[in-house]
Symmetry: C2
Subunit: 355 residues, 2 copies
């Protein structure tokens, strides 16, 4: 029998557990976010430290282990440790947690994250791709919980475009932990180069980075006065600044988010036609621009996916969330999804299945 | 809890069962193919009838029921009937087997296939999308069995491009039975209209129909003398005729299959990046052109999918089928995959889960 692409059975997340806790870590290029978590009582404590990436991987690993030990020490007096979970930027090979070369984490390629942490801590650690962990959190604690839906695909629009797929409460890891990389679904065949080495992927059209790039491209044409004024005033302008300009009616800024919505709609059409899930979530920093990009997203999706057309919710369905319809919605947990998902890993997966 | 996107647990296909049999039907636009099947002894008997689509759906349903009854009558003397399975062209809504409007089956839209058959037969019938049934057969009886791999995605290149996804021995049905429609993954954003109502899907670039269309387009340019001579000699030329011309060295015919391979490579890059499965199979009538299209397929996939690049099998891996690599291979069961998959349904799924 070949390596399982998911864990063997659907997990049951028991929300009544109060005598056990987990420690979860969201390993990001900017911050390490730690939390101690109990299913019944939620987040017991959370801690954020800067990621000392420039000091090298040993320094970062030392910080991870110190943070985990601190939380274990403080909470194991009153509760029993269920396990430790960590979400890491991909590509990360599972079950060993082997990091491949990461653009945002120079020097981390080749690190066997799980073995390294386990050797330091003397206990088991469950590693996941950070976007998968975030999707798991949305399933059990976020939008999925709100709607009573346990199968979903989440796209996280940040510096890149992350993705995670949950099927009946299980993370779809795929053979090597690489499943769910929906940011690298082709949308424009002869399109822009992508950080993954491909071209025409969703990521260079639907990330925070893409909004800045599109704004600069528009400014370079000399026909986008609003964006030019923004960049002149603040060369480090953010996607949020472009969003505010769009909300104020600037046509060039509006077009940037329309193009982003179209890109997401094309990508989602492929995903909807492949997976036919009840729920697709958009999360990440660009979510505050939902009203700017969503109309173009739905228009494109409707024109490309007959499965969506057959299952598009009516206005009434959007209120009642009737079963059998395809819902495209906003994620609920914001930036907390990563560490919450890491906290859930020990309660919803079997570490022994990942050896 | 929402409607399951897969059955609840991984099925065990018990190959030692000899005292039970199933009846499977592959419902196609041209033929109805029936078989009686035993896990231990394989196909006990198979029957092919023409699909009397022109006589209307009642005639076709009557033929289905008569064929099923005949096989049950002949084989239930020596074995116990385990169940009845049927593969039907999609889009077909599960679990009810509601047929939507099918281009090749006019007049069948709105037919509740399962209820209709069950009412006629007085016993339970399990309905599946035909491409899903074919993928299931390849998993348990075809290439998956040969390699010992139980998770795969199969693309069937026929009149259209069908798709089926098997995860740990389970068909991924999705919420409504529409999962696995990988023939409708976007590959050329502003591309050709597709029968699904979308545009730029894989299907109009990688089906048997697309080979004929591409040949006609090439002839229309006036610069494809070999293809023009073929069409003049035989206006009803087949994709196989174009393949023979390509094998004989005709550059225009060669290009048609290179373009088809490129289309498949783009589609597969999206699927590989989304699912990270150990095995992807190409099946259907165009499979005999594998040598003509496969090089372009692999070239495109390599350039677009970093997951494929990280997991591409070496020449040694292709001999030993080492775990952890991504294999793109030929399906083994040919045109029998459809009815074999239908025969497997009662042995590998739980009808009660589909109610």
């Amino acid at each position: 029998v070949s390596r399982p692409v998911m864990r063997a059975a659907a997990p049951v997340f028991d929300r009544t557990i109060s005598d056990e806790f987990s420690v979860g870590v969201d390993f990001g290029g900017t911050n390490l976010r730690f939390a101690a978590y109990s299913p019944k009582d939620g987040v017991l404590e959370s801690v954020t430290l800067p990621s000392r990436v420039k000091d090298g991987r040993d320094a970062v690993v030392a910080d991870m282990c110190a943070g985990i030990r601190d939380l274990i020490a403080r909470h194991s007096k009153s509760r029993k440790l269920k396990g430790i979970g960590m979400g890491s930027p991909g590509p990360i090979e599972l079950p060993g947690g082997l990091l491949h070369d990461l653009p945002n984490l120079p020097g981390f390629g080749g690190l066997e994250l799980r073995a390294t942490l386990e050797k330091n801590l003397g206990t088991a650690v469950i590693i996941e791709n950070d976007a998968n962990a975030a999707a798991l959190a949305e399933c059990f604690l976020g939008r999925g919980k709100t709607l009573g839906i346990d199968s979903l695909c989440m796209m996280t629009l940040g510096t890149g475009v992350g993705g995670g797929i949950i099927l009946q409460g299980n993370i779809l890891d795929g053979m090597n932990g690489f499943a769910g990389e929906v940011g690298h679904v082709n949308i424009w065949t002869d399109g822009l180069r992508c950080g993954c080495g491909g071209h025409g992927c969703t990521e260079p059209y639907a990330s925070a980075t893409s909004v800045r790039r599109a704004a600069k491209d528009a400014i370079a044409t000399g026909t986008a006065p609003g964006l030019a004024a923004l960049a002149a005033k603040n060369p480090d302008f953010t996607p949020r600044d472009v969003g505010l300009l769009a909300e104020a009616g600037d046509a060039d800024a509006i077009r940037i988010f329309e193009n982003l919505g179209q890109a997401l709609g094309i990508a989602l059409s492929a995903i909807v036609n492949t997976l036919n899930l009840p729920l697709y979530l958009i999360g990440g920093g660009l979510l505050n621009a939902w009203d700017l990009f969503a109309p173009a997203l739905f228009k494109e999706l409707r024109s490309r996916s007959y499965i969506y057309r057959l299952t598009e919710p009516s206005a009434e369905d959007l209120r009642t969330h009737r079963e059998g319809k395809t819902y495209i919605e906003k994620a609920e947990l914001g930036g907390d999804a990563g560490f919450l998902g890491a906290c859930l890993l020990p309660f919803t997966t079997w570490p022994e299945a990942r050896r």
